[in-house]
Symmetry: C2
Subunit: 323 residues, 2 copies
């Protein structure tokens, strides 16, 4: 079976591709034999079974080129992230909404009913919710990114209900610790305040210590995305949106863990200087969600934040994708 | 001030236009001096201040033609209704989603920040919600109409948050008693089972008697739409979606009221023959919503279902729009 991963050059996309190929991951009893990455850049996974199509994800011709008779699933991870979608409204609408729709239309035209995994985000939620946020609570996004993701969720659900695709929507927690450079997600600081001190570099934390975040490690998120893709659609029922499990950790608790793992000198490299623009977006997101249903379906959460830091240190030593 | 009403030839649109002109309805202290209706047909309101632009609501040229320097508000009521959007997916997407976005873009390009009233629907909700449904509960639509309306809500909210428009989203209850012929809304029966027996005509009720519906009379809905348009946006805060008040009435209670108003012979004209396609859509909608906030903001509900029937009989006698 052939699988398409949009955003396959990205941090999560490349890891998802690597893991799908490592596991062989049979979907409906068929093993994954090749993967096509669609992204602006080439997928960094060095494997003969990976083909990279580079270009604009909103381009129907590129999508048509990727789809084959053997295609069985599409993992749609490509996105313009939160702070960037806030700064460039048109770009966010085109990539986060229009490209999702174009991709869904291409899948609908495919002779098979394709599995369609859509990466959404806790950014669909608004402020002032009693926490943990129950599953029935609705998107009231306070960012264009959140609004665009919430619209994508509705599309995937309606396309699934009509039988055009077999969709699965995963609302991702904030992912820490991301390696490499900061990106334009409003939540980018959540990785930077751990990653930079571990590398002996000073960093500014743009939010207050009391802010609770809903966090997951990259490896747990990737494991959950694979699980969502492989799961029988019937187990999800007729509403295909899931809040992925995470753990609730305040910024201060994150820094306490940093100190436990790397000593007080590491923590002293973090300087808190609240930034109103970042805070307006991040503080509108819930710090905890009810995840009984996804846990019951076999999705996982990290054990605690110390483990997340240790996982980062392990991955950094062994991870060829970041070389 | 000039106001645009899309769907101005429709049942609600025409009544909204009539009422806006009757009241003079000052918006920000400015009286409404002219109204443009955009619809496939001409607006039936006979008034020199009404201009009808006929054509496709998704056509940017038509919208551009409607907007003037004196435009202060757009009331977007045009829609492909539930059963029709379910039967024709493309048409629903084009009218319910694309036209809404085109209209919002045109408003964004206008030099003034226009008021934008969007008629949404309780059809955005899914089944299995504990009732009355709280304000924070989210759309989990089980119809393409509901999905398209929910996406429109997200657009209006994000355009409002960004200051592109001054939006107000009203989720309309099921409106009874609509005069005239059945339309292609799945809820059309809710009017037919009262209207036809009152005219001595037999009618089939496609849902079971125990089904609770969330109802409003046309005059109350129109009064609420006018109120939503005139309200200071600041009163709505930064989330612009409101569940309009209604009353919870089961189908059996509706027929009991019919019998009280028009006698047992009227009720005997109603034959219950459940229709799975209609039931699948209508039974997924909630029969009651929490409306403390909208009531606090001055929105209204009907007193009871007998009053709704009497209002219909009054309107039918005096209403020139249906001649």
């Amino acid at each position: 079976m052939h699988v398409i991963v949009t955003g396959g050059a990205g941090f999560l996309g490349a890891r998802l591709i690597q893991r799908l190929l490592d596991e062989g991951a049979p979907i409906d009893g068929e093993r994954i034999t090749r993967v096509t990455s669609i992204d602006l850049a080439a997928c960094p996974v060095a494997d003969d079974r990976v083909e990279s199509l580079t270009g604009d994800i909103a381009d129907p011709a590129l999508i048509a080129k990727a789809l084959g008779d053997d295609t069985g699933a599409v993992c749609h991870l490509a996105a313009v992230v939160s702070a960037q979608a806030e700064a460039d409204f048109e770009l966010g609408m085109r990539v986060n909404l229009d490209a999702t729709r174009t991709l869904l239309e291409a899948c609908r035209a495919h002779p098979k009913r394709l599995r369609f995994l859509f990466a959404s985000s806790l950014a669909v939620f608004g402020p002032g919710l009693s926490q943990p946020v129950a599953e029935a609570i609705g998107p009231q996004p306070r960012s264009s990114y959140g609004a665009q993701k919430a619209m994508g969720e509705l599309l995937v659900n309606d396309y699934s209900r009509r039988g055009f695709v077999d969709g699965r929507v995963c609302r991702l927690p904030t992912i820490v610790v991301r390696p490499g450079k900061p990106n334009r997600a409003a939540s980018s600081f959540a990785s930077s305040i751990i990653r930079e001190p571990l590398a002996g570099v000073e960093v500014i934390c743009p939010v207050v210590g009391e802010l609770p975040l809903w966090l997951s490690s990259p490896r747990t998120v990737v494991a959950n995305l694979v699980h969502a893709l492989l799961l029988d659609g019937a187990a999800l029922g007729d509403w295909r949106t899931l809040n992925l499990p995470g753990i609730t950790v305040t910024v201060t608790q994150m820094l306490d863990a940093l100190e436990r793992v790397a000593g007080p000198s590491a923590r002293q490299l973090v300087r808190v200087e609240p930034d109103a623009a970042i805070d307006a977006i991040v503080a509108s997101w819930p710090g905890g969600l009810e995840v009984e249903r996804p846990l019951g379906l076999g999705f996982q959460a990290d054990s605690d934040f110390d483990a997340i830091i240790h996982a980062y240190l392990d991955d950094e030593r062994g991870d060829e994708l970041d070389n």
